[in-house]
């Protein structure tokens, strides 16, 4: 049966959608159709592909506006009369037809500090428990199709953000190394916040939605990285402390936040999540992300699936004791921005 396709053809100077009527057989995917076009009407139609099995992440394209892998998009998911429009990834500059210049991603990869092997552990002596490697293994499933990078609205139509923003692919790389049981660096979160532009992300979860490997990019990588970075950098108490103490006092007494964090860490049962402060921005206010949220108001820092109050035996955090060095005043507004 013949089906109608529109395929974008052109190069950096411009281009247009071209119409094709192509024979489609049972059980075929969009990439099969592109191959048929190459073998018949359009031998020079440019398109990347390799494994044709959803394992290499080469054939990324936009199909009816959705970022997809051509090899994983079954023709049976469209209705018979539907026109199928195939365009190149929009976030990256076009080279030709469906092929885009994805060097942005390779540059960001280079800027992400590599795994730091633990000092004094010989090859063959690495010991890790399965449960501890599994969190990082989830992120290592990434096939680098860059669909998450393409769909991320921080850079999708904002060329100007590209320099300061590494994108979801490299947030999961940072998270992977942060959670690696033997990685020697302890500054993965700070790096994500300070150098990768993690703060640009306002958790719309578009990246998670398009991931062909179903990696929970937002929930399992970005949010944990954000929240704990928030602990350190934007903790309202620290802000207050910064206002009260002079810089030299802060430095001589050691940074307040690390003392707090260290204390909490020591008392926290291993494997449990640390207490998490709300995801506030540099101005101390919550991002307005409720447009994308299932319910009105600021998102719960504990996730949307918890009912309060929690039974006390399920509480995984310790209430911080009141700090006598701080004046007993109202904490700065954190949750009030939406009211």
């Amino acid at each position: 049966m013949k089906r109608h396709f529109r395929v974008w053809r052109g190069d950096s100077s411009g281009g247009d959608l071209e119409d094709f009527d192509v024979e489609v057989n049972d059980g075929e995917v969009v990439l099969d159709i592109i191959h048929r076009l190459q073998a018949t009407e359009a031998p020079d139609l440019a398109c990347r592909w390799n494994c044709k099995a959803g394992k290499c992440g080469s054939c990324s394209m936009e199909i009816n506006g959705m970022p997809r892998l051509g090899c994983m998009t079954r023709m049976s998911t469209f209705t018979a009369a539907e026109t199928i429009t195939i365009t190149p990834l929009r976030t990256f500059p076009v080279i030709r037809d469906l092929v885009t210049d994805v060097s942005f991603n390779y540059e960001k990869a280079r800027e992400t500090p590599a795994f730091a092997p633990p000092a004094g552990v010989a090859p063959g002596q690495y010991r890790m428990q399965q449960i501890d490697v599994e969190r990082s293994q989830e992120f290592r499933k990434c096939i680098e199709c860059y669909l998450c990078q393409n769909t991320c609205h921080v850079v999708r139509d904002h060329e100007e953000n590209k320099e300061a923003f590494s994108g979801p692919r490299f947030f999961i790389r940072a998270a992977e190394l942060d959670m690696h049981p033997l990685d020697d660096r302890t500054d993965r979160k700070q790096h994500a916040q300070q150098s990768q532009g993690l703060g640009f992300c306002n958790i719309t979860k578009c990246c998670t939605e398009v991931c062909p490997e179903h990696i929970k990019i937002t929930d399992n990588a970005i949010i944990p990285m954000k929240e704990r970075v928030v602990d350190r950098r934007y903790d309202p108490l620290v802000r207050l402390g910064r206002k009260i103490f002079r810089r030299d006092q802060l430095e001589s007494e050691g940074a307040l936040p690390s003392q707090r964090t260290a204390r909490v860490t020591a008392e926290t049962p291993s494997g449990r999540r640390l207490p998490e402060a709300p995801a506030v921005g540099p101005d101390g206010r919550l991002d307005i992300s409720e447009l994308a949220a299932p319910s009105q108001g600021g998102l719960s820092p504990f996730g949307e699936d918890l009912t309060f109050p929690l039974p006390p035996e399920q509480v995984t955090y310790h209430h911080p004791e009141p700090d006598p060095t701080l004046p007993q005043s109202e904490p700065p507004a954190t949750g009030g921005s939406n009211s």
């Binding site: 059980g27 190459q38 020079d44 390799n50 992440g57 092929v99 290592r140 190394l177």
Partner: protein, 628 residues
């Protein structure tokens, strides 16, 4: 359109960015050589990502009785004793180190209870031996090596201010010709895919790591890149290929839906309990256990089923026979009319394990079938059949250094493109460890070779001009044959006539047709310009596919026996006389394939002593055994 050619100067040029290429490049860079990596695809997209099962290394983490000698024995048995014994020995000895090294690069393998690297069972391996990450081990390997290269680039950046100062990746770049200075390698000529501009890499040493030849076949698990480029480049520069008749047809490739025909279903489906049945529902593998394996394999379904939980007291199920035996059995069942609707057989794991176990053990398999075919492997059986998967033959190399034999100097090869290591058949899991062990060796020796040179060889201008002309010909020609059509015709010849089961008449016919195709390929023409033009790329690849296919057909016709990945219907027995012979292809002045017989190197006595005499008697002549 420009005809200027960019010049790049390097010490070592590695062609191919799969596991072997990346590992070689790391080693060359660590040896202080300026290294270029040339990749036909994007960096990190290599075909290595398709390897699912794992990397075989006798670390003994799961069964402490495992050691390099057992691994060596298994490899030789799998290759039916045609292996280059020295390669098999080095491989078995060095594989564990190469795997452990990956952990220092950041790899995260699945773990045992005591925190070591977990190892799984696989066809042909006596003990659980495959280091793995679920069923995406190849991806883990590529990503790890890719990230190690990035980390080296970061070190260079810190020191020199440039990421590319000592190791640079040229992605989407294809090499079409090697350049010589007399008999010495002087560089490589190619084009950037995106612009179509030509580039010449001047370098005294080249490492070939281009993988295999599967795209010459109709049904294959290989990606478009597997066009035998390295094999052809080696031949044209004066190197030799050995045993090109041995191609591995993976017994279980997807047969349905048609769009993914050829994509393979990992052997661990069978290792974890999957069984093969024909259309009558019979578990037919019990009928196909060859005599040499009779002692190690179960004779009843009951015993076979007990093995999964108690491997020490039961013999293994016949589904875990070496893959050529399984492929042949499936082929026989289908030919006897007991195949599945789509021309394969049924591989069933759904009735053998609970759904959550299947998803846990085979996550990407489950995912792949669900997404690609809408088949739920926890609920229904898969339809599988043989698919062209791996070429055992390849560039004839010195086992220790990976240096190519023949007249050329400065050429090295590692991974699938090299030959000898796997003999007539490769065990699952041995390719990932192969490319690490010999990738490292090739990189190391390429760097050492550069040290020995008093001056850099220089490529001749004439060769450069000729290479440019050949590369431009399909575009200049205007009218001529369609490259896609030619590829289909080539695939049909190889698939139908030089496939899994071979006969003399068909092979002679194939050679005749390949000659006809050669004339047509010389007349291939493409439209469009040089910028990212897949038609042009294919037109240039065809030349390589054709010459390598000819080597395969010629060697297949010559070898009058059945062994490993070469099955002759007219010579169904394995012959001890033929075991002593390697078939070696070279190109003569006129560009014709020349085939000669060379003796297989004799095993050193201490390695021979690892086997029982009764076992050797199945493979070797009385003369060889008497000589002991």
């Amino acid at each position: 359109m420009t005809t200027t050619t960019e010049r790049q100067l390097y010490d070592v040029v590695v062609i191919g960015a799969g596991g072997a290429g990346l590992r070689a490049a790391i080693e060359a860079r660590l040896a202080g050589k300026r290294t270029a990596i040339i990749s036909k695809s994007l960096f990190g997209k290599a075909h290595t990502v398709m390897a699912e099962g794992g990397a075989a290394a006798a670390m003994g983490n799961v069964n402490s009785r495992d050691n390099w000698m057992v691994h060596f024995r298994d490899t030789m048995r799998g290759g039916k004793f045609l292996n280059n014994f020295r390669m098999a020995e080095l491989h078995a000895k060095e594989a564990p180190e190469r795997i452990w090294e990956l952990e220092t690069y950041g790899a995260l393998f699945d773990r045992t209870k005591d925190g070591k690297i977990s190892q799984r069972n696989f066809g042909g391996h006596e003990y659980p031996r495959l280091a793995h990450v679920g069923d995406r081990t190849g991806l883990e390997l590529i990503r790890t090596l890719q990230q190690k290269i990035v980390s080296l680039q970061q070190e260079d950046f810190a020191e020199t201010g440039s990421y590319d100062s000592r190791i640079r990746v040229f992605q989407e770049t294809t090499i079409t010709e090697l350049l010589l200075d007399g008999d010495r390698i002087a560089g490589a000529f190619g084009y950037y895919r995106d612009s179509g501009d030509f580039v010449v890499f001047e370098a005294p040493a080249v490492v070939l790591a281009t993988g295999g030849v599967g795209r010459s076949y109709k049904v294959t698990s290989n990606s478009w890149e597997y066009t035998g480029d390295g094999h052809a480049l080696a031949l044209r520069s004066g190197a030799t290929l050995i045993n090109m008749e041995f191609l591995q047809f993976h017994p279980t490739g997807m047969v349905w839906p048609p769009s993914v025909k050829g994509i393979l279903v990992t052997e661990s489906v069978r290792g974890d309990g999957g069984v093969l049945r024909n259309s009558e529902g019979k578990r037919f593998m019990f009928d196909y256990v060859p005599d040499v394996f009779r002692k190690q394999y179960a004779e009843t379904e009951e015993e076979a089923d007990r093995w999964y939980t108690d491997p020490d007291n039961n013999r293994r199920p016949p589904e875990l026979l070496p893959r050529d035996e399984v492929a042949r059995a499936i082929n026989s069942e289908v030919k006897a009319g007991r195949g599945s609707p789509a021309g394969g057989v049924f591989l069933d794991v759904s009735t053998r394990l609970p759904a959550e176990q299947i998803i846990k053990r085979l996550p990407s398999m489950h995912h792949q079938f669900k997404e690609l075919a809408d088949v739920d492997i926890t609920k229904e059986p898969m339809e599988v059949g043989p698919t062209c998967h791996y070429v055992m033959g390849g560039v004839e190399v010195d086992p220790d250094s990976g240096a190519a034999f023949g007249s050329v100097q400065g050429l090295f090869a590692a991974g699938e493109v090299s030959g000898g290591m796997h003999g007539s058949n490769r065990l699952g899991g041995n390719s990932l460890s192969d490319l690490l062990v010999f990738g490292k060796r090739a990189g190391e020796h390429a760097a050492a070779y550069v040290e020995t040179l008093a001056k850099r060889p220089t490529p001749s201008r004439v060769d450069l001009a000729a290479a440019t002309e050949v590369a431009l010909a399909p575009l200049v020609r205007g009218e001529g044959e369609n490259p896609y059509r030619l590829q289909q015709d080539l695939q049909a010849v190889m698939g139908d006539l030089v496939g899994i089961i071979r006969r003399e008449g068909e092979l002679s016919d194939a050679l005749k047709r390949l000659h006809e195709l050669r004339v047509r390929v010389a007349n291939v023409a493409v439209g469009g310009d040089r910028r990212y033009n897949p038609g042009w790329h294919l037109a240039l690849d065809l030349r390589n596919m054709l010459i390598v296919s000819e080597c395969t057909a010629k060697a297949a016709l010559e070898r009058e026996e059945s062994r490993g990945g070469h099955t002759r219907e007219d010579f169904p027995k394995m012959s001890a006389e033929w075991r002593r012979i390697n078939l070696v292809c070279s190109l003569d002045e006129a560009g014709e394939v020349h085939l000669e017989r060379k003796p297989v190197p004799t095993l050193r006595p201490e390695l021979l002593d690892l086997f029982e005499r009764s076992e050797l008697a199945k493979y070797m002549t009385d003369e060889e055994l008497g000589a002991e």
